[in-house]
């Protein structure tokens, strides 16, 4: 199965996104902030997809995105922001930092699936 990671400081959101990705055919690893994600990534196989919240303690999603995109081993991993940030400037900032897609909370399974389909990563 394809591997994915969900990074969100809300355990409820982590659980919901992991369930959605599970239903779409992914095996999911969870992290509660950017630093936790980098630590876990260093110990696991490279995922195909990472869903990233923006506002998190320790290391936020934007900082994680910039850091991960600077590391060659994660250059071609699909990264999608899933966040409450809804201003157009934030969307642009995330895209310029290397996000492949952007979902504004609240989301549904259909929304996640439709965005992944755009990226060629729909139901596995």
């Amino acid at each position: 199965m394809a591997l994915a990671m969900v990074i969100d400081d809300s355990s409820a959101t982590r659980m919901i996104l992991a369930r959605i990705l599970g239903e779409l055919g992914y095996t999911v690893e969870k992290a509660e902030n950017g630093a936790d994600a980098l630590h876990k990534l260093s110990k696991m196989s490279r995922p195909e997809l990472i869903l990233i919240d923006w506002n998190m303690p320790v290391m936020n999603g934007y900082e994680f995105l910039v850091k991960a995109r600077s590391m060659p081993e994660y250059d071609d991993v699909t990264m999608m922001m899933v966040t409450t940030e809804t201003e157009i400037e934030q969307v642009l900032k995330a895209l310029e930092a290397g996000a492949n897609e952007y979902v504004m909370k609240p989301f549904t399974k259909d929304i996640i699936d439709e965005k992944l389909s755009l990226l060629g990563l729909g139901a596995r």
């Binding site: 809804t86 201003e87 157009i88 969307v91 642009l92 995330a94 895209l95 996000a99 897609e101 952007y102 979902v103 504004m104 609240p106 989301f107 259909d110 929304i111 439709e114 965005k115 389909s117 755009l118 990226l119 060629g120 729909g122 139901a123």
Partner: protein, 299 residues
């Protein structure tokens, strides 16, 4: 209060006559969920009273009649729905039109049953993004819908956060939309490409320009065979010879119309008009095309 079978039959006949949408008895839940809000808006206590009001003037042009008809249509839509039709538009259909009509420099695309306009604007974004050569052409993307409210929404080009979350690539969001409060507005260079008007596919058609490409997706599934045949025959008359028809993933012209050739393109397909009317088709059973799951490239 549950709908009586007498009232359901009246409503089903009214909806069939006014929109050609077929409501089978197992759709009573749908009728109740769609018409309870209409009853409240009209100011009556129940669907039974709504039906009584409709019986006094059962035409689609009456206020109650149009509200009932609009409520029974399905407006499910999102940007770049199913992805593949827009891949075909980009990779094959538009390049062919450019090749064929280079001297004429006009392009007409019809989004039939356009709902709130996401399909029309997805088409406009494909053209803007990938065909700069068309900037000097006269382009008309014509959206039509039976619902006046949906037509107005298409003209406005204003979408909620939930709507722009659905299927719209983020790079296109930042490029073609502005945000105002919680709403997202399409920029004028795209709204100027789209015309929208009220049209009942199952009724008398207004004069339409000859179309190069017709999007008629997830519409025929609501109609009976006779209505499907009639609509496909009229679409063929509207299309230029060799023009393209795109249907929904579970829809087909097979056993409905002989006016089209099915053309495979990549891992999907479209229908190409043969030109004039063709000999009548044989069997009356409607076959369904195999469903192709959406998976494709970004726009």
């Amino acid at each position: 209060m549950a709908l009586s079978s007498n009232d359901f039959t009246f409503l089903a006949n009214y909806v069939k006559n006014s929109t050609a949408i077929v409501l089978t008895p197992d759709k009573d839940y749908l009728v109740e969920s769609r018409l309870n809000p209409v009853a409240r808006r009209v100011g009556v206590a129940s669907i039974t009273e709504l039906v009584a009001k409709l019986r006094t003037n059962p035409t689609i042009n009456s206020e109650v009649g149009s509200m009932v008809a609009e409520a029974m249509t399905t407006n499910e839509t999102y940007f770049f729905r199913d992805v593949k039709p827009f891949d075909v538009l980009k990779s094959e259909l538009l390049p062919k039109v450019i090749e064929r009509k280079g001297a004429d420099r006009t392009l007409n695309i019809w989004s039939a049953a356009c709902s709130s306009g996401q399909e029309s604007y997805s088409i406009a974004m494909v053209i803007k993004e990938h065909f700069p050569a068309l900037s000097s052409w006269r382009i008309r993307i014509i959206g039509t819908d039976i619902s006046r409210a949906m037509v107005e929404r298409t003209k406005e080009g204003i979408f909620s956060q939930i709507e722009i979350n659905r299927g719209l690539p983020a790079p296109l969001l930042v490029k073609y939309f502005t945000k105002s409060g919680s709403e997202w507005k399409i920029k004028p260079d795209l709204t100027s490409m789209v015309d929208a008007s009220v049209m009942n596919l199952a009724g008398n058609w207004p004069m339409l320009p000859r179309m190069d490409i017709v999007f008629l997706r997830n519409v025929l599934i609501y109609f009976d065979l006779q209505t499907k045949r009639s609509i496909l025959e009229k679409v063929n008359r509207v299309l230029v010879p060799g023009g393209a028809l795109l249907l929904g993933g579970s829809e087909t012209t097979m056993n409905v119309s002989n006016d089209y050739d099915r053309i495979t393109s990549g891992n999907t397909f479209y229908y190409k008009s043969k030109g004039g009317p063709q000999p009548a088709t044989g069997p009356t059973q409607v076959a369904r095309a195999p469903y192709v799951s959406p998976r494709g490239s970004a726009f």
